[in-house]
Symmetry: C2
Subunit: 375 residues, 2 copies
């Protein structure tokens, strides 16, 4: 049987369910830590597992450039390469081609670009992107799409979305079905309800194992993102998993879960961990700040990760100031743990039919604190 | 009872025994990973424990500058600060004052210097060094000594050694005895047997819970180091633990254990791990080298660490090339594991009276490979 999702419970538009994959089952809503280049930055695979994470994301763009998709395949695939035994979702490379690569030229067939690593010329098409993701061994393959720049006129967004829909059809044709694996289409259309509806219609006409909402969290703001979800998720098939790409803060995720999203990925918890910021049940802390220098209390008393159970805020502050690698290691671990605990709490609240109450408690906890760097 | 050492077995000049401390027992010969600034670089305390390490070293110089000894004391001491439940040995700061600090001026009383962190002026004397180590909560406190430059004339070495012996007396006087804690004297005298003998006589006259051999591994070469040990260790009290400071490679440690040394510390395994070098049962590898790029075999099939049991050499090479933090993390873990396994093997061989045979097997394993960076 192909990769599929079964519902467990609904609470308003929010859904709890189970994603069935070739590498095991995953409870949704789920947050997938980002393992860009074959590693969730600053964490061992054992540590990622210990947080409760069951599914991670790999980046086609990074892995095709280094070490190369064919090399990963010869070494037994990405699961073995990075020692990840759960499912892996790979993106299509489209987003990074736009954000990282040099000298891009785009045509109807695909994109030619230069590697940000060594300047070598590469080409990505829907067919090659799907092939790379097969070589990596992805459980979930994403359609190759164009990442529409933001801001853009409605006409630019429409043109870009329609190209992505033609590429989605080619991605579907290039994809070889395998047991427990699946291909996700990506809804585009910016913040324009009519374009989003047109995109959903095009994708559901083709048919996919899951549907992603792309082109959000690119600068439009949380209100516009939520408004776009409000007009998009009701159009998506009830029986398929829904993935909001590249989102987001804990508050973004909470709002999107309440609008019917099942899957998330984002670099925020890992990147923040490397820049001294910690997400907690009491809001966001910046451990670089001097007020933590002699604070013996734990980062988050509600958290069971090693940063919180073994050490004080003063120690974490010291590691950051001394530029010790253990600082980013512990803060990344904490942030991934926080995100996993957040998702587990949301799943339980949906199953128990008390998501509104749970959301209010989360928001009250976050409210007091959003600490910026004071030095 | 004060910190003390009990013998278990002898094999030639080599000794196996147990060091009894306020934070538990430690089997010797022991290698202490270096936790410079309150962290064994690139490792969690749990990971350090998992390698079998039972005792670590902290640096007085680094910790007095940042976060400050009084602050560590207010936070409950170094054990709690870095979450290390076993014993900790702290150095005296003398070595780093010479190698890292700026604008040093030395007099009979002590050394004034500027911090390499922020340029602030500091002063270390035997009394202040011992006080700092007490504030940190060290199980083993080291006497404050002068780190003699190398090369130096015999007269310079003699003058420096005699100053260190006067400082050793002051360190002893400043030290407050506590249950399970101890103060170690440091034998100086460069590569000159008569000066080493004079230094041992001066220290044993004062009396310490253990004796370190200092001023080696500073450029004199392995043969001169071993020759110095050959004329020094027979003079040391049989009943006290012996510590060779800042040593060394696996071959250095093997040679020193055979000459009666019980304790070691060195940055080699951690620093090498951060520069892509791995010590293994088959010699030293440089994982940066292109020949590892597609090698599916483990770093060291004889090792049980995560780098060796979970991943291929190809993956480790990839992490290094991609400058992923997990590369240094895994190689550091492996190197510390290798050093701990090395010490355990030596302890067992001494207890079983087959150290010569064991040493020959180790040396045969290391012989084929000492791989330098080829790009």
């Amino acid at each position: 049987m192909t990769l599929h999702w079964t519902p467990l419970a609904h609470d308003g538009a929010a859904r709890a369910g189970v994603l069935h994959t070739a590498h095991g089952t995953v409870e949704t809503p789920v947050f997938m830590p980002v393992g860009t280049a074959g590693t969730v930055k600053a964490m061992t695979a054992d540590a990622v597992r210990a947080t409760g994470a069951r599914m991670v994301l790999g980046n086609t763009y990074h892995l095709m450039l280094r070490p190369g998709a064919e090399r990963v395949a010869r070494l037994g695939g990405l699961h073995r390469f990075m020692d990840w035994r759960g499912p892996i979702l790979t993106d299509s490379g489209g987003f990074q081609v736009m954000s990282l690569a040099g000298l891009r030229t785009m045509d109807e067939e695909g994109v030619t670009f230069r590697s940000h690593v060594d300047g070598a010329k590469h080409r990505l098409t829907p067919e090659r992107s799907v092939e790379i993701q097969r070589l990596l061994g992805a459980d979930v393959t994403m359609c190759f799409d164009e990442c529409t720049p933001f801001p853009a006129t409605e006409e630019q967004v429409a043109t870009s979305m329609r190209l992505s829909m033609r590429w989605a059809k080619r991605s579907r044709a290039a994809y070889e079905a395998r047991e427990g694996h699946g291909l996700f289409g990506i809804v585009q259309g910016g913040v324009h309800p009519a374009l989003r509806a047109e995109s959903v219609a095009a994708l559901t006409e083709i048919g996919f194992e899951g549907y992603a909402v792309g082109g959000l969290a690119v600068g439009e703001g949380q209100a516009a993102m939520f408004a776009t979800l409000d007009c998009t998720t009701p159009l998506l098939p009830q029986e398929a998993p829904r993935y909001l790409m590249g989102v987001g803060t804990p508050a973004d995720i909470l709002g999107a879960v309440r609008r019917g999203i099942d899957m998330f990925d984002c670099v925020i918890p890992t990147r923040s961990g490397r820049t001294a910021r910690a997400y907690t049940s009491r809001g966001m802390l910046n451990l670089r700040n001097a007020r933590h220098a002699e604070d013996p209390s734990p980062l988050d008393p509600a958290c069971g990760c090693p940063a919180c159970t073994r050490h004080s805020r003063a120690y974490l502050h010291h590691l950051i100031k001394a530029e010790e690698m253990l600082g980013p290691m512990l803060l990344t671990w904490h942030n991934i743990q926080y995100y996993q605990d957040l998702m587990r709490g949301l799943r339980i609240a949906i199953c128990e039919g008390r998501l509104d109450e749970h959301a209010a408690a989360l928001e009250a906890g976050w409210a007091p604190l959003r600490e910026e760097n004071d030095g």
